[in-house]
Amino acid sequence: MLLEYLPIAVLLILALLLAGIVIALGHMFGPRHPTERKSMPYESGMRPIGPGTRRMPVHFYLVAVLFILFDIEVMFFLPWAVIYKKLGVFGLVEMLIFIAILGVGYVYVWKMGALEWE
């Protein structure tokens, strides 16, 4: 079974090689004259104000956490889908109950406004 993944490993190594070659080409042939002006972070030409990294709005964290929750739900769909034809009506009802419980959470999240502003 591991044998099936070996061609993917070969592809991965070759792709890595390709990316490496691309970057090496750039390094070899590109001129290198760093000046202070060129190395500054780009802020439409003016001197940058403030540090390069500052705190991000916490809303992005919320989006990420919600993504994880619903992605796990999607993961549960996968094995169910593979054997669905054998399960029949029981499978549909089972998944409906699962979706209903997650739907409660989804409605709650929607109503609480976690899906707004971005």
Binding site: F90, V104, Y108
Partner: protein
């Protein structure tokens, strides 16, 4: 499995099913209840608990197994479900006014409470290690959120974070233990584990280590030494109504799982595990009681006292491996959990009544011992309730706590561990100091306690205190009921 099987199984665990569905619907309904009327959510939650209680009692006496043997609805599960549902009702009663005056009233509090109770009921009925894990997570995660629900307060956030981190670790230990047990016996079902062990051919070292890790995971939940470090900080930081519920519910659920797993699945390992349990029980009783002496904050004091009581119940678990005593182990543990529930809620209801926000004319928050001065004269009813609770904690007749401890000690002596019984007695004696100290402050000091007059709080305090005294008269039939709830191998 077919659709019919699914419906039949859901019907078998109807109290759990109904409560889950009720909690989900309540969450949605709560979204449309305006902020001022959140009392409706509390009412609906209590209604749901009453419906579940009615279902549990109406189905008592029928022993079945559901979901291919993963859930066992027997007398044990019924008894524990009754304890959980009552503690849920008491939890809602003490929370109702407390939340409003602390400014943290949210409908989700009651929904989380309901979900936690579902987890606890599932834990008492679980007959498979995976089901125990599922129930463990289901009951813990709402408690993590509830511990942190008083969000602007930093110690509430600290309590939630501590509880969550340590709880997640403990769940990890539990899972690792389950994996080892599965590796050793080839199954996670409790009945199959014991049959695999007795028929031989099992890797005993894996099994013992797995059992030890499971003990660690559950021991965290019930706060035995050395897994007790989170208890004082979490109990103190969390809102008091949450602590009141947590102190009873999570502990009882953890012990339900411990009892079921050890008595059903690990009797053959008794030789290896009993010394460990002995040491755990002894240290818990000693450390819990001794450190409680130094506490001036009543929430911390009650936290350490709950650690000590976990030690007493653990004491009863020690002789679980001996066939004739195992029944008494379970019965006395169940009885003591009932006594502990009533006593604990009585004490915590009074604590919540006295707690007040800083700056209500005082510069304390009502949680240190000095704030109890003069309670005896100003609020005799509350003081009496607190006194009854303290006496029951020590184990002085005519309280239920006395009868409970009596049965626990009898079990230990029957099991042949007189030394442990002696430690239990001595530590109870030591505990008398800090419990009676509260009584002294209430009756023999003068002061002006600031008390919140709230009907449900009073009702809970008085009802549980009365229950503690009155039920001790009917302790014999109660104990018989608990004995019938002894686990049988189905």
């Amino acid at each position: 499995m077919s659709l019919n099987d699914l419906l039949v199984n859901l019907n078998l665990i109807m109290p759990i099913t109904i409560l889950t569905a009720w909690a989900c619907v309540l969450l949605l309904v709560d979204l449309f209840i305006p902020k001022e009327r959140k009392g409706i959510t509390a009412l609906l939650a209590a209604l749901g608990l009453l419906v579940a209680l009615a279902l549990v009692i109406s189905r008592a006496g029928v022993a079945t197994s559901a979901f291919n043997g993963m859930i066992m609805i027997d007398g044990f599960a019924t008894f524990m479900s009754v304890i959980f549902l009552f503690s849920g009702l008491a939890g809602i009663a003490v929370a109702y006014d407390y939340l409003i005056r602390s400014g943290i009233e949210r409908g989700e509090y009651y929904v989380l409470l309901l979900f936690s109770i579902v987890g606890m009921m599932l834990m008492a009925a679980a007959a498979d290690l995976i089901m125990v894990f599922l129930a463990l997570e289901l009951l813990s995660i709402p408690l993590y959120v509830l511990a942190g629900i008083a969000v602007p307060r930093p110690d509430s956030e600290e309590a939630a974070l501590k509880y969550f981190l340590l709880g997640a670790f403990a769940s990890g230990f539990f899972l690792y233990g389950t994996a080892l047990v599965y590796g050793a016996t080839g199954s996670t079902a409790l009945t199959e584990i014991v049959s695999a062990t007795t028929s031989g051919g099992v890797n005993l070292s894996f099994l013992v280590i797995g059992a030890g890790l499971i003990l660690v995971g559950l021991g965290f939940k019930v706060a035995v030494v050395p897994f007790h470090m989170w208890t004082p900080d979490v109990y103190q930081g969390a809102p008091s109504s949450v602590t009141a519920f947590m102190a009873v519910g999570a502990k009882a659920a953890g012990f339900a799982a411990l009892l079921r797993i050890f008595v059903l699945a690990f009797p053959p390992l008794a030789m290896d595990l009993t010394p460990v349990l002995w040491a755990l029980a002894a240290f818990t009783m000693i450390i819990g009681n001794v450190i409680a002496i130094a506490q001036r904050n009543i929430k911390r004091m009650l936290a350490y006292s709950s650690i000590a009581h976990a030690g007493y119940i653990m004491m009863a678990l020690v002789p679980y491996g001996q066939g004739n005593v195992a029944a008494d182990t379970v019965a006395s543990a169940l009885f003591y959990l009932l006594a502990y529930m009533l006593t604990s809620f009585a004490a915590w209801a009074v604590v919540i009544a006295l707690e007040h926000n800083m700056g209500e004319g005082r510069d304390t928050d009502g949680l240190s011992l000095e704030d109890y001065s003069g309670l005896g004269q100003k609020q005799p009813a509350l003081a009496a309730a607190m006194t009854v609770a303290m006496l029951s904690f020590i184990g002085i007749p005519p309280t239920l706590g006395f009868v409970g401890k009596f049965y626990l000690l009898r079990t230990v002596i029957e099991g042949g561990f007189p030394g442990l019984a002696l430690i239990g007695l001595l530590t109870s004696l030591v505990s008398a100091y800090y419990y009676l100290r509260v009584v002294v402050y209430m009756y023999m000091r003068d002061g002006e306690p600031v008390v919140r007059r709230e009907p449900w709080l009073y009702f809970t305090a008085l009802a549980t205190a009365v229950g503690v005294v009155v039920l001790s008269i009917f302790s014999e039939p109660l104990f018989n009921w608990a004995s019938q709830a002894v686990l049988k191998l189905i």
